[in-house]
Amino acid sequence: MGVFDFSVNFFEVLWTTLLDVTPVVSLFAIFQYLILRRPLEDFRKVLAGLVMVIIGLTFFLIGLEKALFPLGEMMAVQLSEQEFMTRFGVNLDSWTAFYWVYIFAACIGFATTIAEPSLIAVAIKANSASGGTISTWGLRIVVAIGVALALTLGTIRIVIGIPLYIFIIIGYIIVMIQTIFAPKSIIALAYDSGGVTTSTVTVPIVAALGIGLASVVPGRNPAIDGFGLIAFASLFPIIAVLAYAQLLLFVQSLKTKKT
């Protein structure tokens, strides 16, 4: 156990990361050198950066897989065990009995989204593309709040057992209405924020939460319900970012009215 286990896993994860990087980097190389014939400005720096990306992602994934995911999964199961819930003397037949699960879902959803590397990348680009108006941390916190809400509502749904598609369809209707009223400049970024939450960190922990909970609540299908949480997690950030943009606009209009 211990060091040996980590080293075996290292090469496995490194290989998957390489498989992920190779096609896209070869495509860029072929286009840049053979078709466009425009060599990169600082080839050695880019190469060093690529090595850092590959090694960094490998470390990151191994660390999550070995340490954080098993723990998160275990906690989700422990929190929904009868033994834990009866400690607080709640009525087990009511959906409110699982309130610690809902709180945990919100916290872990927020926390994993803050650490999501693809969201950090999008936030950096959004900051520079907006000329600094959109702050990197601001966007990340709004998206994380969206995921926290999504997981809370998603876990409540699993316990109550309302069909998933009702929520999804209502969610997209809300998004469409918001799209009509939101400032046009934020729309593309808002939609992209929904996509990035289905990336490396959030998916495994969210799926584990859904599967863990569905296996405890009678009459739930772990395969379907685990997936449902991911669908929620990619819908709510869109709503959160659009709502935040509208709020900012509203506050601004109040200020201009006063002066």
Partner: protein, 247 residues
């Protein structure tokens, strides 16, 4: 080499990555000790794992600025300078296709999809039928992501508003959900996430923002984003159509 400067720079990078990971650490510690009131199981693994996550995030973030952003950016400028629309669209399609076809998550999902469809009796149980179904699914998802990036890049050039593409796309998703075979629906929704790997997102975002900044009359914020959103939506549509045809 200016060592003190390098040391300061490195420390600041490690510090900011620690801030990114702080919420996870706090949530886990609070729930384990205060709410569940249980000791941490094999804490050695936990500490080693957390250190790996920390170092990994620092390296990744630095590599992002050194490699992935410049790659996406310089490609955007090179493509617009060349001004050959066919070449740009070819690049866009190949980019989406090649990043998706080898995606481990997609390979896993398509095998599972073949198994599910075979159990439900939609396709034969023999190896060849399973393989051809899984391959067809993989190619159609990869083609859909390629098509999505192509549409997205074309949108940046033409300045089409994103919301019309997204709204009509999701209207198609909802409509297809009613007529597509039930077995394929869950799989279709699942494939939406395959195009958003941690490598693809920064590259595609840098490409989009780069294109929007180098084309006259386009705003990097309004027009540069949106490629990811289309790439998430398109596989759902394609997979449900695939299900309608094959099953």
């Amino acid at each position: 080499m200016n060592w003190p400067k390098i040391a300061r720079y490195t420390t600041s990078k490690f510090y900011s990555a620690l801030l990114d990971l702080l919420p996870i650490i706090v949530v886990i510690l609070v729930f384990q000790f205060i709410i569940l009131q249980k000791p941490l199981p094999n804490y050695q693994d936990l500490i080693l794992g957390s250190l790996l996550v920390w170092v990994g995030l620092v390296l990744f973030m630095e590599g992002l600025e050194w490699a992935l952003f410049p790659l996406g950016n310089s490609m955007a400028f090179a493509l617009t300078n060349k001004g050959n629309v066919f070449l740009i669209l070819l690049f866009a399609f190949t980019l989406g296709f090649s990043t998706t076809i080898a995606e481990p998550a997609l390979i896993a999902v398509s095998k599972e999809a073949a198994r599910v469809s075979s159990v439900a009796g939609f396709i034969g149980a023999e190896e060849a039928a399973l393989d051809s179904f899984a391959r067809g699914l993989r190619v159609s998802v990869a083609a859909s992501v390629g098509f999505a990036i192509l549409i997205g890049v074309l949108r940046i050039f033409k300045g089409w508003p994103l919301q019309y593409i997204i709204i009509s796309g999701y209207a198609a998703v909802v409509g297809l959900t009613f007529i597509a075979p039930e077995e394929i629906i869950g799989i279709a929704y699942d494939t939406g996430g395959v195009a958003t790997s941690t490598i693809t997102v920064p590259l595609v975002t840098a490409l989009g923002v780069g294109l929007a900044s180098s084309i006259k009359g386009r705003n990097p914020l309004t027009d540069g984003f949106g490629l990811i959103a289309i790439a998430v939506m398109m596989p759902m549509i394609f997979v449900m159509i695939y299900g309608l045809i094959v099953l």
